[in-house]
C-alpha cells in the first residue's frame, strides 16, 4: 500500500532524492545570500519518508514547544503543500541574526514572521522549482502563509491528499557561526509518487554515470 511503498525506497533512491533537495536548497541559499548580503549556508544532512500518521513523531518527537512554519500550497499535476518548520525560538533567533537586530530575539511578531515567510518563500520556491524542472511537473503555488502552534496543531492545518507520501528533509541553516535546524516537509500525492519514483530512478541512474 501507499505508505509501505514510500518507506521502502532504496538507499539509492533516498540518496537521489536528498541530492535533488540539496540542489534546490543550494539555489535557495544563493538567492538568500544575494538578498541578505551576508553568508548563509544551507545543507540537508538527512531525509526521511513517512506518512501522516507518523509525521508528528518524525518531526519533533520530544517537542511540545511552539513551532513556526511557512506553508505554500500547490495545485497542478497534483495537489499538496510544502512547509518549512522551525522551533519558534530558533526561528526568532535566525531572523534576529539575518536582520542584524540590535534587540535580543523576542517572540515572533508580525514583522518577524513576515521575514520568515520570505525566507521560506525563497527556499520552498527553489526546492520545488528544482523538482518541478527535473520532473517537468507543472504546479501553481499559493502565496506563502505563516503558521504557529505545537506540532499537532500545525499538522491539523496542513492540506494534503489522503494517503500522501511525505518527505521530511532536515535543513541546517548556518548564519554567522550559529546553526539553526529546520525541516522541509513535502507532501506528494500518491498518484504521482510512482511517477516521481520512476523519475528518481532515472535521475539517480543518470547521476551515477
Amino acid at each position: 500500500m501507499s505508505s509501505k511503498k514510500s518507506v521502502s525506497l532504496s538507499e539509492r533512491q533516498i540518496e537521489a532524492l536528498r541530492e535533488l533537495i540539496n540542489i534546490g536548497v543550494g539555489h535557495g541559499a544563493e538567492v538568500l545570500n544575494t538578498m541578505l548580503q551576508s553568508h548563509i549556508a544551507l545543507n540537508v544532512p538527512e531525509i526521511q519518508l513517512t506518512d501522516i500518521n507518523e509525521l508528528e513523531r518524525v518531526l519533533y518527537p520530544d517537542s511540545t514547544s511552539q513551532l513556526s512554519a511557512v506553508e505554500m500550497k500547490y495545485r497542478g499535476n497534483f495537489t499538496g503543500s510544502v512547509e518549512l518548520i522551525f522551533p519558534t525560538e530558533d526561528a526568532s533567533k535566525m531572523v534576529s541574526l539575518l536582520i542584524q537586530d540590535e534587540l535580543p530575539p523576542g517572540e515572533m511578531d508580525e514583522l518577524r514572521s513576515a521575514t520568515l515567510q520570505e525566507i521560506g518563500n525563497v527556499l520552498l520556491n527553489a526546492v520545488m522549482g528544482t523538482i518541478s524542472n527535473i520532473f517537468s511537473f507543472s504546479l501553481k503555488y499559493s502565496l506563502p502563509t505563516y503558521l504557529e502552534g505545537d506540532v499537532g496543531t500545525l499538522i491539523s492545518q496542513v492540506e494534503y491528499e489522503p494517503g500522501s507520501v511525505i518527505i521530511c528533509a532536515k535543513t541546517r541553516f548556518t548564519v554567522a557561526d550559529i546553526q539553526v535546524e529546520g525541516t522541509l516537509v513535502l507532501f506528494f500525492s500518491l498518484t504521482y509518487f510512482d511517477d516521481l519514483l520512476s523519475k528518481i530512478e532515472t535521475y539517480s541512474g543518470f547521476t551515477d554515470r
Partner: protein, 374 residues
C-alpha cells in the same frame, strides 16, 4: 512608442482590474516589460501620483530598486508564471518609495503574484503592498519597553541578590557577636564564681552566687540566639527548659530539692522582651528555692507561661512553700531582687500581682509585642 505615452499590454486589450480600487492595499499590475497596467486608488492616495500618469510607464522609473539584478530576477520569475514572491518589511525597505503624511518612509509588506496569461493578454504580475508602518512602530515601541522592563527586572534581581548576601553577612556577624557576648558573660560568671570561693562570709558568698546566676541567665539568652535560626528571637519554652535545671542545680541545696513543674507554651519572643523576662524568672525561681522551702523542706514550684487570645503573655510562678512574710510588700520592700522584678515588669509594660493563698504566687502579664505606644 513615445515616452510618457500610456501603453497597454501587447494585445492592446486592457484588462479590467478596477476591482482593485476597492481595497486598502496598494495594488499595481505590470506586464512583461514591467510597464504599469494598473495603479489602484490606494496607490494614487499614497504616492499622490494619479493613475493616468503611471499607466504604461516602466515601474522602475518609480521604483528604482526593481532595476537591480536581484529584484529583476525575482520579478521576472513571477512574470514567467513562477511561484509568488514575498518582499518582507524587515529585509526590503523602500522598494516602493512612498512616504507617509509625516514624511517617514512607509514600511511595506509586498507580495508579487503571477496573473496567468489569458487569450486576451500575456502573463501579468500583481504587486500587493500592505502598509505596516503603524504596526512596525507599535512592535518597536513594545520591544523597547519589553527590553527596558527586562533590564529593570535583571537589575532588581541583582540588587536583591546583593541585599540577600549582605543580610546573610549581617546575620553571620550578629551571631558571632551573640557568641562572643555569651562567652564573655560566661567568663565574667566564672570570675565571679572564682572570687566567691575566696569569700568567707556566707551572705557575701550568696550575693556572688546570685549575681553569677543572673549573668548565666543572660548568657543563655545569647547562646539561644546564636544557636537558633533567628538572630533576634528566642523560643521561651526551649530557653526555660535549659535555664531552670541550671538554676535548680546551682541553688546549693544538697538533699531535698523542690520539685519543679513546668507548663510552658512554645512562644517566640524578641531579645528586648526575652532578657527582662529571663531575669524576672531567674529572680522569682531562685527566690522560691531560697526562701519557700527552709530546712530542706519538700515541695513544688510551678512555672506556667502562656499567651492569651488578646496576645498577652502570662507568667505564673507559684510554690506551696511556707508563704511570704506577713509584712512583705513588693512596692515598699527594700529587697534588691523584688526591686529588679518591679523594674523589669515596668520595662515589659506589664502588671504584677502577688497572691498569698492558698499558695504563694506571682502573676505577671505583659503584651507580647511591645511597641512604643505601649
Amino acid at each position: 512608442m513615445a515616452e510618457g505615452e500610456n501603453t497597454m499590454s501587447k494585445t492592446d486589450t486592457p484588462a479590467d482590474y478596477s476591482l482593485f480600487d476597492y481595497t486598502p492595499v496598494g495594488m499595481c499590475v505590470i506586464d512583461q516589460n514591467l510597464k504599469v497596467q494598473f495603479w489602484n486608488s490606494c496607490l494614487e492616495d499614497w504616492s499622490s501620483i494619479p493613475r493616468e500618469k503611471m499607466l504604461g510607464t516602466d515601474l522602475r522609473s518609480f521604483c528604482p530598486k526593481l532595476g537591480e539584478e536581484y529584484y529583476l530576477k525575482r520579478v521576472e520569475s513571477v512574470l514567467c508564471g513562477g511561484t509568488p514572491v514575498v518582499f518582507s518589511p524587515q529585509l526590503h525597505s523602500g522598494l516602493f518609495p512612498i512616504r507617509r503624511y509625516d514624511g517617514s518612509p512607509q514600511v511595506q509588506h509586498i507580495k508579487l503574484t503571477p496573473l496567468p496569461e489569458t487569450e486576451a493578454r500575456e502573463c501579468h504580475a500583481l504587486f500587493s503592498i500592505e502598509d505596516l508602518t503603524d504596526l512596525d512602530k507599535r512592535i518597536k515601541d513594545y520591544r523597547r519597553e519589553h527590553q527596558t522592563a527586562l533590564t529593570e527586572i535583571s537589575h532588581r534581581a541583582q540588587v536583591e541578590e546583593e541585599l540577600r548576601k549582605s543580610l546573610a553577612e549581617k546575620d553571620f556577624l550578629i551571631k558571632e557577636i551573640h557568641h562572643r557576648v555569651k562567652n564573655n558573660l560566661s567568663l565574667v560568671a566564672g570570675l565571679i564564681g572564682l572570687q566567691e570561693s575566696f569569700l568567707h562570709d556566707g551572705r557575701d558568698q550568696h550575693i556572688f552566687v546570685e549575681l553569677q546566676n543572673k549573668i548565666q541567665s543572660i548568657s543563655l539568652v545569647h547562646e539561644k540566639l546564636y544557636r537558633g535560626s533567628d538572630i533576634e528571637k528566642i523560643n521561651v519554652k526551649e530557653y526555660l527548659e535549659d535555664l531552670l535545671p541550671l538554676l535548680r542545680d546551682s541553688s546549693g541545696r544538697e538533699n531535698r530539692v523542690p520539685q519543679v513543674k513546668m507548663d510552658i507554651q512554645s512562644i517566640i519572643l524578641p531579645i528586648d522582651t526575652a532578657i527582662p523576662l529571663a531575669l524576672i524568672i531567674t529572680e522569682l525561681f531562685l527566690n522560691a528555692l531560697k526562701y519557700a522551702f527552709p530546712d530542706e523542706k519538700a515541695g513544688t514550684i510551678w512555672i506556667r507561661f502562656y499567651s492569651s487570645e488578646d496576645d498577652t503573655c502570662h507568667l505564673e510562678v507559684r510554690d506551696d512553700g511556707v508563704g511570704l512574710p506577713d509584712n512583705f510588700d513588693i512596692e515598699t520592700g527594700d529587697s534588691l531582687g523584688f526591686k529588679l522584678i518591679s523594674n523589669f515588669v515596668a520595662q515589659l509594660r506589664g502588671k504584677l500581682e502577688v497572691g498569698r493563698s492558698p499558695s504563694t504566687s506571682f502573676d505577671i502579664s505583659f503584651p507580647r509585642r511591645i511597641t512604643e505606644k505601649n
